[in-house]
């Protein structure tokens, strides 16, 4: 497994010029825009680079060759999740540090605990995207997986629209007070929300990893 992690790291480092470019763009953006933007932007770049390592592995039937190395298909899937979660965390942590430095330099007043809470809520979103994208990339080719992802996003949007419609119907027809519910939700302690979000992330990532392991085990190379 160590070999796989080293390989992924090496593939990422091949794109170091791109990384340096993103680094400077992030610095500029953190000054020009709301500093919280960088906390979403940098992990997003990290996620794209991490996902690209699967495309590189698949390129020219390279996956078949990788499976001749001392690694089983399931281990390959697990290694990819370890690499992805670690990579996401590191890019996010880097972005948070950049955000704080930027705020200090700009002398913008802020409450560290509140900012941390906001930042911590961003990471689970990326874990969710990761949980969808990795099995897609394993199951389908890079191009196909993008189409499938697009379709999934469409379905989610449709569900949200339908949900909104249903909420309006419930509110009008049955008199359910959603504003009161929202106010109640806002009253929940932020730490509890974060705990729930991370617990959910662990569950979703675990389910996604099990799916990915099965996809890899069934795959022919």
């Amino acid at each position: 497994m160590k070999g796989l992690l080293v390989k992924d790291f090496r593939v990422i480092m091949v794109q170091k010029k791109l990384l340096i470019l993103y680094f400077f763009v992030s610095i500029m953006l953190s000054y020009a825009m709301d500093t919280s933007f960088i906390v979403s932007y940098f992990p997003m770049i990290g996620l794209m680079l991490i996902i690209s390592t699967i495309s590189y592995d698949n390129h020219e039937n390279g996956m078949g060759f990788l499976m001749t190395m001392p690694v089983r298909p399931g281990e390959y899937a697990v290694a990819k999740y370890i690499f992805a979660v670690t990579g996401l965390f590191l890019t996010w942590a880097f972005a948070v540090v950049m955000q704080f430095i930027s705020l200090f330099i700009q002398k913008t007043p802020f409450t560290p605990s509140e900012l941390f809470m906001e930042d911590f809520m961003i990471l689970p979103i990326f874990f969710l995207i990761l949980s969808v994208m990795v099995p897609m990339e394993f199951k389908y080719s890079s191009e196909k997986s993008k189409i499938v992802l697009f379709v999934i996003c469409g379905i989610i949007i449709l569900i949200l629209i339908a949900g909104k419609g249903a909420a309006e119907y419930l509110s009008n027809a049955l008199g359910v007070d959603f504003e009161a519910l929202a106010a109640k939700a806002a009253g929940i302690a932020p730490l509890t929300v974060i705990f729930v979000l991370y617990a959910l992330s662990v569950v979703i990532l675990s389910v996604s990893m099990v799916c990915s392991i099965r996809i890899m085990q069934k795959k022919e190379f």
Partner: protein, 283 residues
Amino acid sequence: MIRLKNLQKDYKDFKLDVSMEVPEGRVTGIIGKNGAGKTTTIKAILGLIRTDGGEIEVFGKNPGDFTGEDKKKIGVALSDTGFCSVLTVKDVISILGSFYEDFDETDFKDKCKAQSLPLDKPLKDFSSGMKAKLRVLTAMSHKASILILDEPTAGLDVIARNDVLQMIRDYLGEDQTRSVIISSHISSDLEGLCDDIYMIDNGRIILHEDTDVLLGKYGLVKVGEDDYESLDKKYIIASQKDSYSYTCLTSEKQFYAENYPKAVVENAHIDDIIVLMLGGNNK
């Protein structure tokens, strides 16, 4: 070391059904046309594809049950694939060192230098010959007991082919117990390297023979149309009608040289055997 018994793999328009054995210390060649089933056989041995029947044993285990430790005993070079082409040999060294305890970095670098493989250049900028050499060096980098090489010389010029074949000979020279399975559609590569050869066509083994026997006892018998009728065909494997004569493949060229003075009896190269086995009228 490797045993296949009625290994089967069914595709929509292709069916593989092969049996073969590779003992310790042997170099076994698989030869056949493009699409004959060489790569499918190799992929099945490596556990890269699921099979539809038969048995495969590699070191006494089914490839599906291989652990990482089992895989370390096998060195593999697949045709037209390898490490990601954006990486350099330096990256490859780092990766191989992380995968294999027996990887000898100094030795690998020396061999790369001997083959003029640059350490800092991305693999995508390598020539076909350089890529092929790196694939074979990678397979040999961790002192594997068996090398499985799928078309390691395909698309190479004669110099690069000789270099690759010499690398394999050197590897075998280091330890007499090492085995090699090598597939190719270039017969001359196998003639000088293999102890025995399996000829595969349309998913089936049509001939298995020691290379010494193929080159020593097999031959071509050329006779006129009239003489062909009276020819004793008990040692004729296949024959092909030319304009005014017949060319026959025999497994006992001495018999025809002694008993048919009017017949022209020549040594057969593997290419001749392939042409007659696949193109002639098999007896």
